[in-house]
Amino acid sequence: MAANNFRHALFCAIITLIISYPIIGFNLEAQGINVTLTGADATTITMVFLAAVIVFLFQLFREQVMGALRGIPSPFPEAKNEPMAENKRAKIESWVLTGIVVFALFWPFLVSRGSVDLATLVLIYIMLALGLNVVVGLAGLLDLGYVAFYAVGAYTFALLSQYLGISFWLALPIGALLAALFGLVLGFPVLRLRGDYLAIVTLGFGEIIRILLNNWTTLTGGPNGIGGIPDPTLFGMEFGRRVKEEGNTSFHETFGIAYSGEHKVIFLYLIALVLAVFTALVIRRFMRMPVGRAWEALREDEIAARSLGLSRTAVKLSAFTIGAFFAGFAGTVFASKQGFISPESFVFLESAIILAIVVLGGMGSQIGVVLAAIAVTILPELAREFSEYRMLIFGAAMVLMMVWRPQGLMPMRRIHIELKKQE
């Protein structure tokens, strides 16, 4: 046994060397048309060998290491004492949530402009992740082209404002409804496909949308994108220094305060906050409605759900459409925040990031998804020197989550009744 273990450990260490040394240990440098090869510096090479040694030792003492790891108490202790009564817990939860929202309302007036801007982005991701959570987490449909609906929302606003001069408030429902329509039209044929085929088809659809946006130069401006997207107005009050449109007034003149660029940023943040809260509440309602139960039933066991009379197409389609609707919402806000959009913002990686948020947060769990969205967007900003490792860590985190904790950091908790054991 020991000899066998040793051979296996040695094999693993050699494999580690083979897959890391050639790629990390040599640097290709393009100089004009010539390519030259240089060896990496000594530290990198030492690291590669160190990694191999670690793999060797880990494999050799696998049993002992795993045993020791199991001995460490889990950081998420299972409820030891009597779990809180369901209604009491719900009450506390709703108070805490209200508190957080109220805090979020006043928070932007205390901090710098940059953080408010970042917070708006976080809120957009929260909207996207909550929407995707319906599709992936609740209905169990893996949608890899979610960013397409986001793009539909953003481009709808950009194009409408460019050609028809439509304002943000009108474009918001139009963009969301159009995205929902796209979801409906795409979903109708593809939803009878099995899980992994569906994933690939949606991925293909997302790519098609992006390529079309990139190449339909006359309409979308191609890779150059669309600029000059107007900012939202507050009851006809603009937030710029000068009023751009006839009939509008400007915010700072109406209230007689000095002009400040921060007003616009904070206003956008508040819009995003209101929309994110709206998204969360609507989806929360849906989850408790019959259709929400049907999503989960179909996810858990399709055959059983169908034999109980649920229409597979209708249930899946509703999840897909609602998810697309909120992506359209987020897209409109994104377009007006950036003021400029291009197909660059809607690549597959974006879909993967949103998916990673949903997976990390715990599929189906709203609070988990919100926390994951905050973490995924803010952590790279805090640790700037690590920002180039961001996607590397993402990928690794997705794999590790699937291996160790597929239910996510904060798994969804269902309201349920537990039967008391008879004494």
């Binding site: 050639p22 044929p189 099995r194 098609i208 055959i303 590397l392």
Partner: protein, 307 residues
Amino acid sequence: MQDLLYFSQQLINGLTIGSTYALIAIGYTMVYGIIGMINFAHGEIYMIGAYTALIAITGLAALGLAWLPLILIVALLCAMIVSSSMGWAVERVAYRPVRGRHRLIPLISAIGMSIFLQNYVHLAQGSRNIGFPALIDGGFNFGSGDGFQMSLSYMQITIFITTLICMTALSLFISRSRTGRACRAVSQDLGMASLLGIDTNRIISATFVIGAALAAVAGLLLGMYYGSVDPLFGFIAGLKAFTAAVLGGIGSIPGAMLGGLILGVAESMTSGYLSGEYKDVISFSLLILILLFKPTGLLGKPEVEKI
């Protein structure tokens, strides 16, 4: 005559690309045939193969080796070894622990692995695309001097021959060898095969290794054909190859070969007669249409849903 020449040129280009798609598609189809999952990271393994080949070629050239066939063979071997090890390691780390869980879990794990590998190469080698030296140049030209000239380059001939050798070797391996027989048994019924004393874990690893080795061959060939590599070029190629696998019927090895060729020709016809920008749209639309109307593909067996 001109039209015919133009058509044959597109056909040749399409078959060239298509045969490399077929090489990559085999990795998808074999893995799917055995454990029923889409190995999303396969495109990245192909990309790593291309990078390793480029590193080996540059390294050998720097050492002063000049005999072309030797350089190519050594580069090919290096790429195959690194890619196969990568395939083995990926299966071990990301897929084996989640095997048998809900269908979406291995797929999400695979997507994570794909992002990880892309950024691994990106961090180690930079995001810029790097020129691949054109080692094999020249070719035959057909057609009159003033009109359209059809060309068949030596590179294209090399691609055809190499692909043919690989495909024949694979077919022989699957149909004759002991491991190949075990592969077929496992893909028919994993549980039964393991009851009959086949080490299924070893066979599944072998599938990943074979798929990755063929992808590395494709990596070297396509890298030389396109003339450059970058960390993202595995993604689209992987998607195309997956389309090819589905087109031919996922799980079927001859299907993957056929699907690759059809997809390659369809693509080059689109860029030859319509517009090069839309060739990706054509292949994705093709994928969507096949999945909708004939999910079993051309040569695939219908899958029965069991309760």
